[in-house]
Amino acid sequence: MFSERFHTSLLNGCVSLAVALFFLVSAGSCPAGEIPPADLDTLELEELMQVEVSTVYGASRYEQELSEAPAAVTVVTADDIRKHGYRTLAAILEGVRGFSTTYDRNYHYAGFRGFNRPGDYGTRFLLLVDGIRVNDAVYDAVPLGPDFPLDIDLVDHVEIIPGPSQSVYGSNAFFGVINVVTREGRDLAGGELSASAGSYATYGGRLSYGRKVRGVELLLSGSFTDSEGQDLFFRELDSPQFNNGWSRGNDSLRFGSGFVKATIGDFTLEGIFGRSRKNIPTNPWGTIFNDPRTSTTDTYSLAGLTYQHSFPAGLDILARLSANWYRYRGDYPYASTLVPGSEYVGKDKSAGDWVGGELMLVKELGQRHKLVAGGEFRDNYRQNQSYLDENGLWDDRRTSYNWGVYLQDEYWLLDNLILNIGGRYDYFSTSEGTFNPRIAVIYTPLDGTTLKLLYGQAFRAPNAYELYVNTGSPQSSLREETVRSFEAIVEQKFGARMHGGVDLFLNHMHDIISQDPSRPTETSLPFTNVDEFESRGMELFFRGAWSNGFRAGGSYSLQRTIDAKSDAVLPNAPGQLAKFDAIVPLVTDRIFLGAEQQYTGSRKDLAGGKLPGFWVTNLTLFSQNVISGLELSASVYNLFDRHYAVPGAGEHLLGGLTSIEQDGRTYRFKLTGRF
């Protein structure tokens, strides 16, 4: 109770301070140092060439180059992030057509076109920050929630490239690539201080500094988030044995991160560090329910040194050295089976470290060919997992390596016909080598009409967790999984401001690696290759942007993801998705309303039950020029307080939960000042 009062008063204080600042700074002076557009007239040509533009991708998330890409690429900019009040990568993905995310109150997981196996860790996406791989060396996991080690405010834009991109990106680019591009030091041109307060005693802060001086560009930033979380009721555990279904004080989150980026000429050195500790309010794996000791701590440390140079005559070179150190610790309290009436805390740990290098050459050959060639190598020099419980210690230490080479050609057969063809060979020391091709035909028969036909193949080798957990030796029967994807897209521009289209897709997946809850052993849920799955469907989409700052978009997905043999729809595979978003300038250039409306159709849980579909509405009011140097935003998430749940994974079934209730209406108030 003390804690509640403390947080309430602290939050009151923060908000009062913010409101006071609002009025105080309203009468403030104008900032200096930024170049108004009118002053561009005074710049010489060399100076113009150095000017960075704020919207290279255009205000509409769309530009012509994207229409020529061999995928239906979506770009979400920092402007979108601010005006929609996005707090996590998962929230960003939730707004992208074809994506649906789930949150088990520990981690966030992304599904794509109806495929999101409960219990997977997002291993079928490749997550990059400035081209540096984030997927760790043990689980290949993709952190999409607060565990993502970069403060979302430091994102310049996110490129979401759906579909198999194995032919260039390699393993894990199974369903898509999420490339997060960070801001540059010059974007800040000084200091930036941000503070936020939100529901359930959630506070966040960030201090950043960036500048370019004499050819050296630097960005430094540190962030924290602290959330008390909420008391949660789990209907399925409503019995005295489980505190009548209530988990109280077990939903807290603590997150800290640091970011440094330095650019000198063609070299960029950056480091990212993020640690998050999440209390788990559920009872995964049958742990003691309503126990504050149940928690996970994830630590990501990434470093990268990139050299990028454009030579005359259309030759670009990119070389990168990178490293990723990942640490995980999970505390899982159990009732002892050896000593009745006593408890113990199982200690689950892992360490995944890799170093890697890559080289990529892009060369334009004549007028009609653009060749991309490259290779990469990764040495997973530490893939350790351990578990200590009352039965003893399981300790597994591994190493592995992999490499890949690729070649791609963008061939302009005609001025309105592009053939994009490529292939990549990958070798993993833990599995066999594999070759995966991609072919795309991009045809523009009429002005403003683009037709894309895409075929791609991708594979994913089993990771260390899937191979070795609880066995101590490789599960010899576990093979790599593959997907073959066919896609046909028709895009039509409507004037200069709108475009829309239709996307038909078919994904055929073999040997998917998955937990099999139908076959739990006494001590584990084994990973197996489970037959064939098929996902097919259709997406309709549109997007428009107008010069007054209004922009809007939407998509509707009709999809069916089935077990190809039994024809049964898979769990956690919503048949329909609908997404609408709009940014409305209430006062030109100063005050915007960001609105989102998202529908997720009904889906099955792992126990065969049906979870109803739901609409979620999010609103953000954002101000950027009302007060000099200050941005303010107020967000309401799940405006209508819809109660909805997502399917739990196998570990939740073991605890008696088939579904996990999601947040009701929540708020966030955020203030960012520049100095």
Binding site: M49, R248, G286, Y334, D447
Partner: protein
Amino acid sequence: MAMVQRTCGRSRFQRNGFLPGRPESRWLTAVVIMALAIFLLSSTPPCRGETPPPGEYQVKAAYLVRFLKYVELHGEAVADKDSTIVIGILGDSPMWSAASPLDGTRLQNHVVRVRRVEEPEEMRGCGIVFIGAGETGRLGQLVEFAGHNRILTVSDIRRFVYAGGGIGFVNRGKHVRFEINRTAVQATGARISSDLLRLADRIVE
């Protein structure tokens, strides 16, 4: 990001919890509503100088005018030796809203006029014409017409310089750069300074 794989059966451990109840944040609702009201009611005029970084087309528009310093247009392209050079903006492009404020800009001995152009015939009298991306479908016709009428063409249509255009904008990361089709520019009777050629990202003959 992992889960322990052990299962030891459900816990029989039970603790005495608080009374059930869902925490409400009415005060927070009020504060957010108040903040929204403040936003809406506030009418502080924007300060000069606090505009966001320039947009892509504002930079491109500035380039258009700067090119005039480095390209000596054919004599007929300048309406009056000491007076006006007309920049035409063809097609429905964000360039129009970015370039139209530059109408009346003085450059050396010239006054720059920015004019909207809808049809190829209206390009006559322009020294430079920017061709918007929406004109891709009839690009060949436009480039040919401009060539015959000695009008320098500029565009951000991809591969513009390969399609016979004069100067093409290209995005390089966050920067806007340009390519030159020297043959096409010279065919208009214009002379390009060596400085402009030096700064070009690529020169196509």
